[in-house]
């Protein structure tokens, strides 16, 4: 596996207490495949990925576990070593390309400096490479646009430039943190197509962070559903979207509009709010919002924390027996989150 994350924990020490942003998270991504990480805001998606890049402030964030990139342990590696990997072996594209690109440097400078830094080439070689990358991500007239500033680009063009910058050194891992959230819907599809095409050409492993299940369905091979800093369900895209097992995944799918959704039935959001990460509920962190917790005996969901099971393949972290979940799903049709009460 190209990236292996094992039992990753990220705690932030704040004045109000310790925030358990990520708690015992494990997953892996292979070259050429895309892992979609799904969850509400504050579920630990971005924290996880900043941890992979080593971008957390060591004064406030305490990390434990293991993150291996191509066999090398990243956790606890010195900053200098991580600097050599960032932008080179692993890269990230962010949500808002306007604020994520420096307003003070031309698009070309921003792409070229990554290449110069990691490949040690001359300015002119790096500039040629920047033009080549702009061309590859579909920016017209790259020789002219290379000298323009981000504010002279449209939103979609900026995100393309961002992708060019991330991929300039052919990184083995690309982390895309909600890359389409800030874009128009038509542009969103173009950007996703572009990422898929580039992945086919380069074989990059992609982690796609999103709260949009449509994006997951479009791009991901595997899916990890996160809740309160933990993985609650893991499987292939088809498994998770077609046969979701965890009640939280049911809720997510049930709250998503679809074209064949009956007009007169209102969409059902997941009720309640995500828990405080300072006082995470004991046991299954989802139990206060779960309609099915009472089907199990008292103390089951509040007792010990459920682990992902089975250990490999399609698994979820829930005490409800698989058979019972299958029954619930068939009783309530395709979206069991809906009618349950």
């Amino acid at each position: 596996m190209f990236l292996e994350v094992n039992d990753l924990t990220v705690d932030f020490h704040t004045e109000d207490g310790v925030v358990h942003a990520v708690d015992g998270l494990s997953f892996e991504v292979d070259r050429g495949s895309t892992l979609g990480i799904v969850g509400e805001s504050g579920s630990g998606k971005s924290v996880t990925n900043l941890a992979i890049l080593g971008l957390h402030n060591p004064d406030t964030a305490k990390l434990s576990g293991s993150i291996k990139l191509d066999g090398h342990e990243l956790l606890g590696a010195p900053q200098r070593e991580l600097e050599k990997l960032r932008g080179n072996k692993m890269a990230m594209i962010f949500q808002d390309p306007l604020t994520s690109l420096s307003p003070f440097h031309t698009v070309g400078q921003q792409i070229a400096e990554v290449y110069r830094k990691h490949k040690g080439v001359s300015k002119s070689v790096a500039r040629e490479r920047a033009i080549e990358m702009l061309d590859r991500v579909g920016i017209p007239q790259p020789k002219i646009r290379v000298d323009e500033y981000p504010h002279q680009f449209s939103g979609g063009m900026r995100q393309r430039a961002m992708i060019a910058m991330a991929l300039v050194c052919d990184p083995g891992l690309l982390i895309a943190d909600e890359p389409t959230t800030a874009l128009d819907v038509t542009v969103q599809a173009q950007i996703l197509d572009l990422l898929r095409d580039l992945q086919e050409q380069t074989g990059t492993a992609i982690i796609m962070i999103t709260h949009d299940l449509g994006v997951v369905a479009n791009t991901a091979h595997d899916v990890l559903v996160m809740y309160a800093g933990r993985a609650v369900e893991r499987g292939t895209m088809r498994e998770v979207l077609r046969e979701p097992r965890h009640p939280y995944t049911w809720g997510l799918l049930g709250s998503m509009p679809s074209l064949n959704h009956p007009v007169d039935v209102p969409l059902e959001p997941v009720r309640g709010t995500p828990p405080s990460l300072i006082n995470v509920p004991p046991g299954c962190p989802f139990h206060p919002r779960c309609d099915y917790a009472k089907l199990l005996g008292p103390g089951v969901c509040t007792g010990e924390r459920p682990e992902l099971s089975p250990h490999r393949g399609h698994g979820d972290a829930c005490y409800l027996p698989l058979k019972q979940k299958a029954e619930l799903r068939s009783q309530h049709g395709k979206q069991p989150g809906k009618e349950a009460s």
Partner: protein, 326 residues
Amino acid sequence: MLRFLTRRVLGALVILLIISAVTFFLFYAIPADPARLACGKVCPPETLEQARHNLGIDQPLMVQFVSWLAGIFVGRDYGGLGHCPAPCLGFSFVNRAPVFETIIDRMPVTIALTIGAAVIFLIFGVATGIVAALRQGKPLDKIASVSSLIGASVQIYFVGTLAMYFFVYQIQVFRQPKYIPITEDPLGWFNGLLLPWLVLALIFTANYTRITRSTMVENLNEDYVRTARAKGMSGRSVVLRFALRGALTPVITIFGVDLGTLIGGAIITETTFGLQGIGRLAVRAVDYSDLPTLMATVLLAAGAIVVMNVIVDSLYAVIDPRVRLS
């Protein structure tokens, strides 16, 4: 860019004209008669009238103002004192010296004082601001905050006097402040200005530390700074090329105003250290109702601020390409 500059310079000239007019007419609202001062204690009416005429203040105000203004561009003839070539700022009511020459004579003192101190407080203030921002909440940051609070609270006549007492008279590590032209004796020039520089810088550094720290803290949290780190830029490059670039705009704004103000006359500093610069000249002009000198110092002070503002506005465009287009 050229159009922008032309517009700014024209605007600046209008501002200077307005300031000159206001100062000129305000001067006559002061219940003091320069002729009576020139005439002495026992002053018969005829002598007073003669003095009025000699000073040129017997004419209508509008006429006086216009001839003063014209003098700057084309020079001016004075009855008893001869021709005053352009740029003519008139002759002092007090010592009859051409004001323009007096200003040129005093300028080096104020400029040397200002530039020397400015170099110290800009470099030192921005550097401590950056360090404080990077060490947010750590002891170094707290030391910087407390010392900038102290620096911002103390007054130059207090610190300056104390510094003179200790460093000049008691332990004698500094020379008595004094202006020696750099062309005469560079080392003497440096030694004579060192203490005023340091004291002035001490007061101003605080402000720069505070501004740099707060804008750096803000900028270090910007998305594009995170991007720079995500693409493997080294810590130093992230701080200097990305975060500091954005933090420079407010620093330069304040620096322009401060520099302009100081060139216009560091009145208290010059008085504290007994330096004969523009500030002292201005104070004396007020004391003696010396209209031509007063007008010149006011014009200079306003001009310094206006020029610094134009420079600062142009620097914005250099720092931030987004300003260039709009």
